[in-house]
């Protein structure tokens, strides 16, 4: 992909920074190049339909999404197909990535209001139904769902805010 086919607001420098970021996260230069290429195409498509102020931040976000999806797919393939040969120990890169994300998510969870956090813990960690949570905390099922929605939205907003400021990359 040459400079003049890059989307609006994205230059060769941004592309290079994206690839470097992805190499750090994915550990593979080839995968990083693939994902960067794909992300740029998606950004062009995105800008065709949405007005975007900060194309660079969006490009990184699209790339992160592609990387997560790639890794989720990989994990599924590993679990499903090659059961006998799987080395359970995570690779060094994955460990680094996960410890960063773990610390980030812990901070995001700490920042939630206590009731909202409690509902999320019961729902995701303890797998309780909305009715169970409602009974325990004296809330209606609808209110429980609203807490889950708000908790999830807050965590996503926290992630977005802290991805590109260098505080804690995904």
């Amino acid at each position: 992909m040459t400079a003049n086919t890059l989307p609006f607001g994205i230059g060769v420098g941004e592309r290079r920074a994206l690839v470097a970021f992805l190499v750090r996260k994915a550990g593979s230069e080839m995968l990083a190049e693939d994902i960067a290429h794909d992300a740029i195409i998606r950004l062009v498509e995105f800008q065709r339909r949405e007005k975007v102020r900060n194309s660079k931040a969006l490009l990184f976000k699209i790339a992160v999404n592609l990387l997560i999806n790639h890794q989720r797919r990989e994990n599924r393939t590993v679990e499903g197909v090659t059961d006998e040969f799987v080395d359970d120990r995570p690779t060094q890169d994955r460990t680094a990535l996960d410890s960063d994300r773990l610390a980030q998510l812990q901070r995001a969870i700490d920042a939630l209001p206590p009731l909202r956090r409690e509902v999320l813990v019961r729902r995701r960690l303890e797998n309780q139904s909305y009715e169970e949570i409602g009974r325990a905390l004296n809330l209606s099922s609808a209110a429980v769902e609203k807490h889950v929605v708000r908790a999830l939205a807050s965590l996503r907003a926290y992630q977005d805010k802290h991805v590109f400021e260098g505080v804690s990359p995904w």
């Binding site: 975007v52 996960d98 812990q106 969870i109 813990v121 929605v149 996503r156």
Partner: protein, 347 residues
């Protein structure tokens, strides 16, 4: 050429809403209570914008993330009675000890939170696409395009406005009137009929009042032009002017220092959309501006050429084509260098 549908505001300005909607759908899907009708609604919502799809995928990945579950294991808990799972027995005892110490602080915290929730509910309603277009328009909504873009906007009253490139406009609806200000660029209007609620358009040079009709307004360098495709349009050449013009299908009024009334061929309404302009007398400089707006290409006109008067029917979305053709007739040439087209005189 870029056509964006319904892109009222920047993606960044809507991100909170989109994230709330995405979270709503992810929670709904994982509640095990999602209905078929909601699934259809979700699919439609996802198809409406790449931003919806992106935020949905990110929220979904986060919800399913093992790392999230790991992070929740160490989360502080509300000191309420709860059933512990056997795995957590050991951790739990530690935490209960901590909770006992932190008890008074937590009570204060959760009281305050309850208040926050009560007020937050009004501001933050995670519903899929809240039907608030009309109320949003009450505060005024700015519509803008960059050169080379087009924006098709469906207003809540059913009117459709299509903005050409490099245009700026604002819509503001009240219960009694529909206000629209076109500050820059061209806009094609298809106004929904509503006798009780006139559609009023303010431009630099004129005020336009309609009940329901189709017409095109172009802001030229010094003039405002109105082309009427259907129905009747009332034009007041100046804000303070009491005289008004009633225009029927096929009428064109150009308002500048003078007001000229002419006719144009209204049979092909797609003319403007396809980039055709019909000009009796336009300067090359002005024409270059129109091409710039429509194509998004930068055009630099030689000083001695910009006042050159040109007439005819042109297609302005392809700079190379139009300037090749005109250059042969009017004696100039064009070349493309860097990010611009240059028009220069041929001696």
């Amino acid at each position: 050429m870029v056509i964006r549908i319904g892109a009222f505001r920047h993606y960044e300005e809507r991100i909170d809403e989109i994230q709330a909607q995405a979270a709503f759908w992810v929670a709904r899907e994982n509640s095990g209570r999602i209905r078929e009708a909601e699934r259809i609604e979700l699919r439609e919502w996802l198809a409406r914008s790449p931003a919806h799809e992106l935020e949905y995928t990110l929220a979904d990945s986060l919800y399913a993330d093992e790392t999230l579950i790991a992070a929740l294991r160490t989360a502080p808990r509300l000191a309420a009675q709860r059933r512990a799972t056997p795995v957590e027995g050991a951790l739990d005892r530690v935490k209960r000890g901590l909770a006992a110490i932190a008890w008074p602080k937590l009570v204060a915290a959760s009281l305050c939170i309850a208040l926050c929730f009560a007020s937050a509910r009004v501001l933050f309603q995670p519903k899929p696409d809240a039907p608030t277009e009309d109320s949003r328009l009450a505060g005024g909504m700015v519509l803008e395009t960059r050169p080379g873009e087009r924006l098709l906007v469906q207003l809540p009253d059913g009117s459709r406005v299509e903005l050409g490139g490099d245009a700026s406009a604002e819509a503001r609806f009240t219960p009694a009137e529909r206000h629209f200000a076109l500050r820059r660029g061209d806009a094609h209007f298809d106004v929904a009929h509503d006798k009780s609620r006139p559609f009023l358009i303010q431009t630099r040079r004129a005020g336009v009042r309609v009940v329901g009709t189709r017409f095109l307004i172009s802001q030229l360098r010094d003039d405002t032009r109105v082309d009427v495709y259907d129905g009747t349009v009332e034009v007041r050449p100046d804000r303070n002017e009491t005289s008004k013009l009633l225009l029927k299908r096929g009428s064109r009024v150009t308002i500048g220092r003078d007001v000229t009334l002419t006719h144009f061929d209204a049979s092909d309404e797609n003319d403007w959309r396809n980039g055709w302009v019909d000009e009796a007398q336009i300067s090359l400089g002005e024409l270059a501006e129109l091409v710039e707006r429509r194509s998004g290409e930068r055009i630099v006109v030689d000083q001695g050429l910009s006042q050159l008067k040109i007439s005819g029917r042109f297609r302005i979305n392809r700079p190379d084509e139009i300037f090749d053709k005109l250059g042969r007739v009017y004696g100039f040439k064009n070349y493309h260098k860097g990010d611009a087209y240059y028009l220069i005189k041929v001696d």
